[in-house]
């Protein structure tokens, strides 16, 4: 957003002039005004973020069920069970696998799209429209589209494959292929978001840099590698961080397209938390898994910050 930030005029009335006359009163007024402005947000923040976190920790040490039964403190029993729970580790592994598989194409394809669109070729609106529009769809719509495209006999994709004389693929039914298939659908759905971020960053690179390079005789590729990509470094780091966080919490499209199957091959961590809580009725245990997952998210984030901090330094 552009604020045509009017340069601060130091000559203007000393900005503390009115308060300067009675400093104590101003301070008191700020306390009141500050909390009054903050209050509405503070209420929802405490009620729907802070309280669930705190209460969740308590829940994780109980054997509470969805029906309200139980609720005795049972120490670290839930956590001990979680650490020995193969299904839990498998779901965490699936989430990490999805994150690794999805992050690279979601960043690279977005970058290629943005670089090409930024060339200023005709039909600008068409590129933006087609690459970004899927991002506006609800996950359920995306899943319906892709279940249909992936349909073994009647799907467009297998039809194209057999027309080309290639082997048809059981996209969502083959445990080896299901996750990559979901990643492809996810790429189609959300790449437009990263594309827009890259495009905005590209348009912020001062035109003079390219002019100077051109005068020095640098070709298009040379400009790409010595000006454009280095200038996008910060953006790439930011997009990577946002993308990894977004991929780690995957649930919607997997749940809708394969329900975690076949045979749990695509069940994500969030889905496991959901199932233990709402199908297995084990709220206490589910809360404990939540915090194990939470710890993993924090570890991944910390690794990321360390790696990117070194690279951007």
């Amino acid at each position: 957003m552009t604020t045509t930030a009017a340069p601060a005029t130091p000559a203007a009335v000393g900005d503390t002039a009115p308060a300067g006359s009675s400093p104590p009163r101003r301070r008191r007024r700020d306390h009141l005004a500050g909390w009054a402005f903050l209050a509405p947000f503070a209420v929802v923040f405490l009620a729907f973020i802070v309280w669930p976190i705190v209460f969740g920790i308590y829940l994780s040490f109980t054997d509470r069920s969805l029906t309200g039964a139980g609720g005795d403190l049972i120490g670290f029993t839930n956590y001990a069970e979680a650490i020995a729970d193969g299904d839990m580790w498998r779901s965490m592994g699936n989430t990490l696998w999805f994150t690794i598989l999805s992050t690279v194409p979601l960043v690279l394809v977005a970058l290629v799209m943005a670089l090409l669109v930024n060339e200023g070729l005709p039909a600008q609106w068409l590129w933006r429209l087609s690459y970004f529009m899927p991002y506006l769809l609800a996950s359920t719509v995306v899943s319906l589209f892709w279940i249909w495209l992936y349909n073994p006999q009647l799907g467009l994709i297998n039809d194209a494959l057999s027309t080309l004389g290639l082997q048809e693929v059981a996209w969502l039914q083959d445990p080896q292929v299901a996750m990559p298939a979901i990643v492809i659908a996810t790429l189609w759905w959300t790449v437009g978001f990263n594309f827009l971020l890259y495009l905005a960053a590209l348009q912020n690179i001062p035109e003079q840099q390219f002019e100077a390079a051109q005068i020095d005789g640098a070709g298009k590729w040379r400009q790409l590698f010595s000006i454009t990509l280095p200038q996008l470094n910060q953006t790439t780091i930011l997009i990577l961080i946002l993308q990894v966080l977004a991929s780690l919490k995957v649930f919607d499209q997997i749940y809708q397209m394969t329900a975690g199957g076949p045979g749990g091959a695509t069940r994500s961590a969030v889905q496991y938390i959901f199932e233990v809580g709402f199908t297995g009725y084990r709220f206490g245990y589910s809360a404990a898994i939540t915090y194990v997952f939470f710890a993993i998210i924090i570890i991944v984030s910390l690794i990321q910050f360390r790696v990117t901090a070194r690279r951007s330094a």
Partner: protein
């Protein structure tokens, strides 16, 4: 803050800087154009296929081999059937209503809080701001169990309250708005304060009007997030008449089973509102997403 004026920027991207290299109209440019076209066709194909399927009869939709032009001609039967079930308009209303309320509450509370963090000096400010920033990394998905428990205790399961309230806190929005308010020259407010305007008046008559673009960006982002949210509405609502479009569609999916045309008609109907809005406000939405996406960097 993104200083890009997106659309204008791109349209003139081929401007003065690129002129000297006339051979830009050579092979490289043709190739770039070809890749853009291939990508665009690939990205539009799922839409096209869904629309075509939705306009077939069920028999043609399930016919083998696959064809783009149905043997029995195009028909609106699938749409008629889906609309006759009567649920989609109700779900569309629920989506619109809940997303609008969520947007209004989120923007209002976040803007007030951001102003307090940006301009007012009060006890506990640093602490509160730290808590808000730290909570940005917490994905709301992981709080579903304790949140649902809270809704049970408050008797809000299967109500609009339960659907809406937990979605009105997006800490990142406070961060974005605060960064914007920080840039507004304080002299403007001081002048009004000298004239005796109180904080709320200054906020309302000076700060808010200057912040229209960022408020619009935040509102767009919140609205799209709420409109497409699946997990929370899916958990907290069981009553069919309270479902939002994404959740309702999930139940329809299993109900229709192999009725492919009706599946696609329902999906298209659910996608339509936001796409129509997008076609009208393309510029604002694209600008809003790139601003908020960066956390206002």
């Amino acid at each position: 803050m993104t200083t890009a004026t997106m659309n204008a920027g791109a349209l003139t991207a081929a401007g003065p800087g690129h002129k000297p290299g006339e051979r830009r109209f050579g092979l490289g440019r043709v190739l770039a154009f070809a890749v853009l076209v291939i990508l665009a066709v690939t990205w539009l194909l799922p839409f096209a296929w869904a629309v075509v399927t939705s306009l077939k009869s069920e028999t043609d939709a399930a016919a083998f081999p696959v064809t783009w032009i149905p043997a029995g001609g195009f028909t609106f039967d699938a749409y008629a059937k889906v609309l006759a079930e009567g649920n989609i308009p109700v779900w569309a209303f629920n989506s619109l209503f809940s997303s609008a309320v969520i947007t209004i509450i989120t923007v209002a509370t976040s803007a007030l809080a951001a102003y307090a963090f940006s301009r007012l000096d009060f006890a506990g400010r640093r602490w509160m701001y730290f808590a808000v920033i730290a909570s940005i990394v917490i994905p709301p998905q992981v709080l579903i169990i304790p949140l649902f428990y809270e809704m049970l205790a408050l008797n809000m399961v299967d109500t609009y309250w339960g659907l809406i309230l937990p979605q009105v806190v997006l800490p990142a929005m406070v961060f974005i708005l605060k960064k914007f308010f920080d840039q507004i020259p304080i002299e403007l407010e001081d002048a009004a304060r000298v004239d005796g305007a109180n904080r709320l008046r200054v906020f309302w008559t000076i700060v808010l009007p200057l912040s229209r673009p960022i408020l619009a960006a935040v509102a767009i982002f919140v609205f799209i997030t709420a409109w497409n949210n699946f997990l929370w509405p899916f958990i907290v609502v069981n009553d069919t008449s309270l479902m939002t479009l994404p959740v309702g569609l999930q139940t329809v999916k299993s109900a229709y089973g192999v009725q492919y045309a009706q599946n696609m008609a329902a999906a298209i109907l659910a996608a339509l509102p936001l796409i129509v809005i997008f076609l009208f406000f393309q510029r604002q939405i694209i600008k809003g997403i790139s601003t908020t996406g960066f956390g206002g960097q």
